[in-house]
């Protein structure tokens, strides 16, 4: 096995996902299959090749430092599950 249930639980926690036991078993096995498949790719000799981060060969896509109009507070808060005044309201995060 390339991955254990314990690691699945850990990654799920980092992603704030909750699974029941059955799901954990299922994902462990599925993720294992994916990682085993990756082993095939690992057989390719990549020595001397720079790690690729982008599929297209493009660099330096810049914009000039010019201010554009923002969408405004009202639009910003349209989809907020909870708001107060001009702010998003969230459960208290410190203390």
């Amino acid at each position: 096995m390339k991955i254990t249930k314990h690691e699945v639980e850990y990654v799920a926690h980092l992603a704030r996902l909750q699974f029941d036991e059955e799901e954990k078993e299922k994902f462990t096995s599925q993720l294992n299959d994916i990682l085993v498949y990756m082993d095939i790719l690992n057989k390719v000799d990549t020595s001397g090749i720079e790690p690729t981060t982008h599929a297209i060969d493009l660099t330096n896509a810049f914009r000039d430092d010019i201010v554009k109009e923002s969408v405004g507070t009202e639009v910003t808060l349209t989809n907020a599950p909870d708001k107060f005044g001009d702010c998003f309201r969230v459960p208290k995060v410190i203390e």
């Binding site: 001009d86 208290k92 995060v93 410190i94």
Partner: protein, 477 residues
């Protein structure tokens, strides 16, 4: 056992661009909450960030000013974590390929020069702001700051005292402000500092376990927090305990650091290259162009002022605190030819009046040209130092040149010995007792008689001449 502190600093500086790092929203501080926002900085699905070119150039400036190596290829990475002030669930930062590495700055502590290494400088986006209300079970999120450009400057663990750390922090601060790439405002959070500190027995090569200090929003607090933390760790070690690796918050009012233990989880940011942003390739030509824009930096300027104007290092330090002040001083020197006089007036009356009126040097009502002219008028004895104070006050109020004020108010110094002789005769006649006491040996009364003469001329008499004539007349009595 003797312990040695090991300190490293992480500094976040907000860059003074007009727009955000990946979108066109304004970076202006103090706007209504959530008004400087758009789908990109709100982290809406399907949007794409586009890199602000000025952010790259500002960061290159800092890299060059701190003797860093600029990497020819750099990339952005995603730092993944959840927090309400982070709309995307990840922060776009740089990880394996930062813009700059392996630099240094020199600092001076108690006359000793020391070189502090800089590990790396990288670009990233800021998070939003959380507002807490003690009486409410909620926190409030303002995303105006989300996506505002930051650079993070990480030092080597080269500092050994809190004082060295404060000196390093001040040096970086003044360089950033000189380069005009950060406003350096610590209260508004545009210049923030975290510190890593550990203790090790003197002579030991390995570092001890470190604590990370946060929440220090002034130079003084950084030094105080480090001093406190060093003595706390020393106490822990001396009483046989072990320092825990943890984050501690500085409490300004109590003057102590508190552990954040319990709220902290092991961080696992799962960095990976950001596929939305293409690599940035920096050519030698581009670096050359940016290098041309680097102004004389504070330390060089300070040394030049001491050398060129023959003023004390302390004065040079005050006068080079900002680029604008240094320019003001140099312009005054140019207009008066008097480096020492210019330094006295700028450090004294100009800075004093600015502070009183809460003004910035750039908005000083007295221009260097006029201050220079006034200093020249003192030097050629047109006005006395005392009258100059009055003239300066008037210049500050009206913005008029000194010549005009002196003429309008009739403040020209009396350097006509004939006129002064008769005034002094009157003074001597009016003060027979003091004259008698002076003659019988109370030499202190000479000053009194000078004062009376100055008063009789409303301060307009040339003091040198008054001294001369008075001495002559008294000895003839």
């Amino acid at each position: 056992m003797e312990y040695e502190p090991v300190i490293g600093l992480e500094i976040h500086a907000q860059l003074l661009t007009d727009s955000k790092i990946f979108c066109g929203c304004s970076t202006k501080f103090g706007a209504a909450p959530n008004s400087n926002t758009c789908p990109v900085c709100l982290g809406m699905p399907g949007v794409l960030p586009v890199m602000n070119k000025s952010v790259v150039e500002f960061t290159m400036k800092m890299a060059l000013a701190t003797n860093c190596r600029i990497n020819p290829v750099n990339r952005f990475a995603r730092k993944n974590y959840f927090y309400p002030d982070l709309p995307k669930g990840y922060q776009i930062s740089q990880y394996a390929y930062p813009l700059a590495e392996a630099g240094y700055v020199d600092v001076e502590v108690n006359g000793d020069k020391k070189r502090i290494g800089i590990t790396r400088i990288h670009m990233e986006e800021d998070a939003g702001k959380l507002v807490h209300d003690e009486r409410s079970p909620s926190s409030y999120v303002d995303l105006n700051r989300a996506c505002v450009p930051l650079i993070e400057i990480v030092s080597e663990p080269d500092m050994r005292t809190a004082e060295e750390a404060a000196a390093y922090l001040r040096r970086l601060h003044e360089i950033l402000v000189y380069l005009e790439i950060c406003d350096g405002n610590m209260e508004e959070g545009s210049f923030r500092c975290d510190a890593n500190v550990s203790l090790r027995p003197i002579g030991q090569a390995e570092f001890g376990t470190r604590a990370e200090l946060k929440n220090m929003n002034s130079f003084r607090n950084v030094q105080r927090a480090l001093e406190y933390e060093i003595s706390r760790q020393q106490y822990v070690l001396e009483s046989g305990g072990a320092v825990l690796q943890e984050t501690r918050l500085w409490d300004d009012s109590e003057g102590v650091t508190h552990s954040m233990r319990g709220k902290e989880e092991a961080h696992d940011y799962r960095y990976f290259p950001d596929p939305d942003l293409v690599p940035i390739v920096i050519s030698e030509e581009w670096i050359g162009e940016i290098a041309k824009t680097i102004p004389e930096l504070p330390l060089e300027k300070r040394e030049r002022f001491v050398r060129e104007y023959d003023i004390p290092p302390y004065d040079a330090g005050v006068l080079t605190a900002t680029r604008a002040l240094a320019d003001y001083y140099e312009e005054t020197v140019k207009c008066s030819g008097m480096p020492k006089g210019a330094s006295n007036w700028v450090m004294g009356d100009v800075l004093g009046h600015l502070k009183e009126d809460k003004l910035d040097i750039t908005s000083s009502p007295v221009k260097p040209k006029d201050l220079g002219a006034m200093i020249t008028l003192i030097e050629d004895d047109t006005i006395s130092g005392t009258i100059a104070k009055e003239v300066f006050g008037e210049m500050w109020k009206t913005g008029n040149p000194p010549g005009k004020i002196i003429e309008e108010k009739g403040l020209t110094q009396i350097s006509d010995s004939g006129a002064l002789e008769s005034t002094i005769d009157d003074v001597l006649k009016a003060n027979p007792d003091q004259v008698g006491q002076y003659k019988s040996g109370k030499e202190k009364l000479f000053g009194y008689l000078v004062g009376q003469t100055m008063k009789a001329t409303q301060g307009k008499a040339n003091p040198k001449l008054v001294n001369e004539i008075l001495k002559k007349k008294l000895s003839a009595l």
